[in-house]
Amino acid sequence: MRVMAQVGMVMNLDKCIGCHTCSVTCKQAWTNRAGTEYVWFNNVETRPGQGYPRRYEDQETWKGGWELDRRGRLRLKAGSRVKKLLGIFASPVQPELSDYYEPWTYDYRTLVEAPLGDDFPVARPKSLITGEDTKITWSANWDDDLGGTTELGHLDPLVEKVRRESEDRIRFELEQTFMFYLPRICEHCLNPSCMASCPSGAIYKRTEDGIVLVDQERCRGWRQCITGCPYKKIYFNHKSGKAEKCTLCYPRVEVGLPTVCAETCVGRLRYLGIFLYDADAVTAAASTPDPQDLYDAQLDLMLDPDDPDVIAAAKAGGIPDDWVAAARRSPVYALAKTYRVALPLHPEYRTMPMVWYVPPLSPVVDLLAEQGHDAEDRDTLFGAIDALRIPVEYLAELFTAGRSETVAAVLRKLAAMRSYMRGVTLGREPDASIPASVGMSEESLYAMYRLMAIAKYDERYVIPTAHLEQAHQLEEIGCSLDYDEGPGMYESGPYGEASGRPAPVAVETFNALRQRQTSDATTSADELRGRVNLLNWDGNGAPPQGLFPPRHDVGGDQP
């Protein structure tokens, strides 16, 4: 047994309202640069729907993830190493920009510079790829909220599969349909096929926290990882010619802060915490013959942090004590293994994904409520879960490789929590038979309710900080008063305001704010010297005004 730690995420899909705040904040933080216009480390898909890029789940086309060869050993679905190297000059199955969308901007200048006339000026869309006028035909969220689903819904690979298997039709008429939102980031898999596809060995998994990263200095743009990742969560930066992916906001996680997508999530549906797993058993688990058993195999990899053997092995493996302690309080472990309500996304890809999902009960509840039933009554809910075959089968294709009993069991737990807590809230005698019917005690059901419904900040995010000798040099930590020239001593370095050692951002912001609040005059250009907003500068063209001090008289004979 080789115990390693992994930062994992759980998303509670019932709470997702599809507001895309996570996508937008993530994009602002990571991919608002030239070359990454179409790159969404975090995106939110409406399901049923085609996803992003379109139909990425159709692995017969895209060849992502792993499969078992005839001898039952893992191999990349895209082929052996030799085959991959032979295909390196023109990747056989790489998605093109048209499978994502052609990013565009608008010609806003026309709005202010158009000559006076009878017609309103129009800001025409311009392609960010060619610079020419363009016609917008698709985007990252074109089928948001089932937009166009009556025509295109059948293109969802899962819909195709469920239809084929059930010989029934998922209806996309308004009154009979169901939908939910699926936010997706990189899965930071235990057995990542992107990494296995990378010819340069540039993609690596960090031993400390399991975050999967691309070494930008070793990536050579062979783009095999894009084929390799079945979730299509590795993107090609077409300006730098390198692969980029979700970083799980490692600079934040290292200092104990949740990722940007989690922090800004309006529905507070994301959980972050530690899994302890057995690294030596990963390959064997991923080679489980029946894809429907992969979920159980993955659960078995997650080690019990209260088990003395595991604790001893973790210690021997060099995992710090506070990490083991954090693993014991881990909300993701609780949801995935203790309560067994969180499921991995597409376990059949055999990558052992570490972003888990609590499947949504809302399609069932909504339908019951619309039909005038009591959507919080246990028996109605349980009956509906069994009767509503199509949503459950669809969820099963997403989360359990098609085993609908597992999904139904999770939904029953959520339903039990719902009806049990309704009784408690209404001041009735708690009905102990409800938790018993899903194999839980009243205490554990209440604890699950607390974690899922109350979801306090410090219970959702249990992130131990990184152990680094130079921890005080990390960006977000160096912001307190123990900074040498802490607040108040900020005024000026030897060569003007911005010279000398760089001030931590927080100190700079604090002082700038205070100066503005306490000074009599409005900010003069002189005071702005050295304070430049670089957020909107993508590195192309001349740097913004004020980045460098004005050039004094050049010449003379000074060195």
Binding site: R2, R73, L74, R81, V82, K84, L85, I88, F89, A90, S91, P92, Q94, E96, L97, I129, T130, G131, E132, N191, P192, M195, A196, C198, P199, S200, G201, I203, Y204, K205, R206, T207, E208, D209, Q216, E217, R218, C219, R220, G221, W222, R223, F236, H238, K239, S240, G241, K242, A279, D280, A281, V282, T283, A284, S287, G317, G318, A466, L468
Partner: protein, 247 residues
């Protein structure tokens, strides 16, 4: 003049190539990439790129064979001059034509596909001119060596001895000077290509990922590289030890 061209220039080129590559590797690892444009267009790329790349790999092998192996060696194993040249013409010509057709498709694609042309830098354009020139001139020398136009020329008695003499630091300037002009121009353009090589996108060839065949599938790396358990300073990744992960 000959001394400068065939005695000094080759060494200058070599210095630029080696020093330039080292410098680029040290200071521009982020820029060291294929700059693939497959995201924009892949229909033509799928034909042109493999044609060009496999072609040029064969051409490299052919050049090594022709330049490094002395004529006396092949004759010693019973391959006569005539047989050798028919083979060289057949395979060399085929590889050369593949390479030329491939790069013509690629250049056509680059010029006509809007996004690809947008992503083409001035550096790329210069590189393409030199590269295409080297390939065209190379094919021309192939024709000369079988005697198209005038009498056949056996480059293995002129160019090859000169090439080998460079590596023992006693450049045989005279035998290269005796080669036909086509060979001399091709060699000069080739040297120019190698001199600009480190400063173009061609550098990706130096990091051809052959080690992919030998590394473990799953790569673990420590945040702090020095303290990674089981890591070696040399290759910076630590294989995690089940047997199927070793391959």
């Amino acid at each position: 003049m000959s001394t400068v061209l065939w005695g000094v220039l080759p060494y200058l080129m070599l210095v630029v190539l080696v020093a330039g590559s080292l410098w680029r590797y040290r200071y521009d690892k982020f820029g060291w990439t294929t700059r693939s444009s497959q995201l924009y267009e892949s229909r033509l790329l799928r034909i042109g790129s493999p044609l060009f790349h496999f072609g040029i790999l064969l051409v490299v092998v052919g050049h090594l064979g022709g330049l490094v192996v002395p004529e006396s060696w092949t004759e010693a194993v019973g391959v006569s001059e005539g047989v050798y040249h028919v083979n060289a013409l057949l395979f060399g010509g085929l590889a050369g034509v593949c390479t030329l057709v491939g790069i013509l498709i690629l250049v056509y694609r680059r010029r006509t596909t809007g996004p690809v042309f947008m992503a083409t830098t001035r550096n790329d354009k210069l590189m393409y001119v030199v590269l295409v020139a080297a390939i065209v001139l190379g094919l021309w020398t192939t024709l000369v060596s079988v005697g198209a136009g005038s009498e056949a020329h056996n480059y293995r008695e002129t160019v090859s001895p000169w090439f080998r003499s460079l590596f023992v630091l006693q450049p045989d300037v005279d035998s290269m000077a005796a080669a036909p002009a086509q060979f001399q121009v091709h060699t000069l353009v080739g040297m120019l290509l190698f001199a600009i090589w480190p400063f173009t996108r061609l550098v990706h060839a130096f990091t051809a990922p052959v080690h992919y065949l030998f590394r473990p599938y799953i790569v673990y790396r420590s945040r702090d590289r020095r303290t990674a358990p089981g890591s070696r300073a040399r290759d910076r990744w630590a294989p995690v030890g089940t047997h199927d992960r070793d391959r």
